[in-house]
């Protein structure tokens, strides 16, 4: 477990698939080894109308996510709220809570792709899909040896620049609040949630490609 950061690059004038191929080719040229596949998915639940009346508050959105890197876990989080790490029986509990929390079926979003190992870095390039359509790309870079974000952010940045060039992002918000705290998988899931929300809000990427 290390420190990770995510970006969402979309190349000018290229489709999602072409950008993914470009990135993976660059990684392979660097010398990274393919190491299987990964999948991160996210389902959205909102408080059912029947519960709202008694609580007198606006419905909140709850995200339930899974990450193939942690196959026995389930992550449940609220935007700007706590992130619960639970085992996979949490999904069974959500079925029991059907009357109180309704799943917004149409907004299930996931990213799937290949894992690349390059020395201490683990890079995952995935295509983000909502239903049948590809909506963007996610790139996750994990630096294994370090668990304190502030200690290795500059190293991560340098590595990102080497294969992303101009698309390198700024520091993720999860790093901002608690720079010296130990990084945990829950922080990775918060980043994925923010990434998915950004992609959801974006217009569907047309074939011609826009930034």
């Amino acid at each position: 477990m290390g420190t990770t950061c995510h970006i969402m690059p979309v190349a000018e004038g290229k489709s999602v698939q072409q950008t993914v191929e470009l990135l993976t080719r660059k990684l392979e040229m660097l010398g990274a080894e393919k190491q299987g596949t990964f999948c991160v998915d996210c389902e959205t639940y909102h408080t059912a109308a029947s519960t709202l009346g008694s609580q007198g508050q606006a419905g909140k959105l709850m995200y339930v996510m899974h990450n193939s890197e942690y196959p026995l876990s389930c992550f449940a989080l609220f935007e700007n709220g706590p992130c619960l790490v639970a085992d996979t029986n949490f999904d069974v509990l959500m079925v029991k809570l059907k009357g109180f929390f309704q799943s917004a079926k149409a907004s299930k979003i996931e990213t799937r792709g290949t894992r690349y190992q390059y020395c201490d870095f683990l890079v995952k390039v995935g295509t983000v899909t909502m239903g049948p359509s590809a909506r963007g790309i996610s790139v996750e870079v994990e630096y294994g040896p370090c668990v304190v974000a502030s200690d290795c952010w500059s190293l991560l940045l340098e590595f990102l620049q080497s294969f992303l060039g101009s698309h390198t992002p700024g520091a993720p918000t999860v790093f901002g609040n608690r720079h010296d705290a130990v990084y945990s998988p829950a922080d990775t899931m918060v980043q994925y949630m923010e990434l998915f929300n950004k992609i959801r809000k974006q217009q569907q990427v047309p074939v011609a490609g826009i930034r």
Partner: protein, 208 residues
């Protein structure tokens, strides 16, 4: 309201519905030692295990008549143990000849921010207590002998007082739905504990 037999419900998402089979009884404080002695002889050979747990019961009120109940339990004497979230369904009223109380159960291990998360979901704490006692195992059966302590100041688990002069004894098994022979094994084991303690099927609704 009777819950439909869980064995008839579809297996959702590839998971099997687990059921908890339960028999309960109690012993007065002065009989505890003899019961522990008998259990040590009957149960699997292991180091005597004691526990101190803090349990909080959360309710989510909706427009349905009965609120949704979740139980959050944490260990007070084992640092680093995950929190335990438990859902227990309505007791199944199927077979009158069934020897144990059967109800659907979902057990989830979670991280420490469970209470914050439940509050964010809309749950509110109904009551809490501390349970202190002994744990025994025989095969898949779990026997727990514990005393319930009332928490005098909410959130303060050091300041407690015993709820009664007795210990609650529970014999339980968590098994996939449809395995009714489990309750026969439980009844046979319960027979061996008589007359020290009478374990029986206690319907929680009849007490209210």
């Amino acid at each position: 309201m009777e819950a439909p037999p869980v064995t008839m419900m579809p297996v959702t998402g590839g998971t099997i519905n687990m059921m908890e089979y339960l028999l309960q009884g109690s012993v007065l404080d002065h009989s505890l030692e003899s019961l522990i002695h008998r259990l040590r002889g009957l149960c699997d050979n292991m180091e005597p295990e004691t526990f101190v747990d803090h349990e909080m019961v959360f309710l989510l009120k909706g427009q349905q008549a009965s609120p949704f109940v979740l139980r959050a339990r944490r260990s007070l004497d084992r640092a680093g143990a995950p929190w335990h979230l438990r859902y227990l369904g309505q007791p199944e009223m199927g077979d009158k000849n069934r020897h144990a109380l059967v109800r659907n159960c979902v057990d989830i291990a979670t991280s420490e921010n469970l209470t914050d998360f439940l509050m964010e979901m809309g749950f509110r704490m109904d009551h809490e207590f501390v349970a202190r006692g002994h744990l025994f195992r025989k095969g898949i059966m779990k026997i727990v002998v514990y005393k319930i302590f009332r928490i005098l100041v909410p959130g303060n688990t050091d300041n407690t007082e015993a709820l009664s002069l007795s210990y609650l004894v529970e014999l339980s098994v968590v098994a996939p739905a449809g395995q009714d022979m489990v309750s026969d094994d439980m009844r046979n084991f319960a027979e061996q504990l008589k007359p020290l303690v009478h374990l029986e099927k206690i319907d929680p609704k009849r007490l209210m």
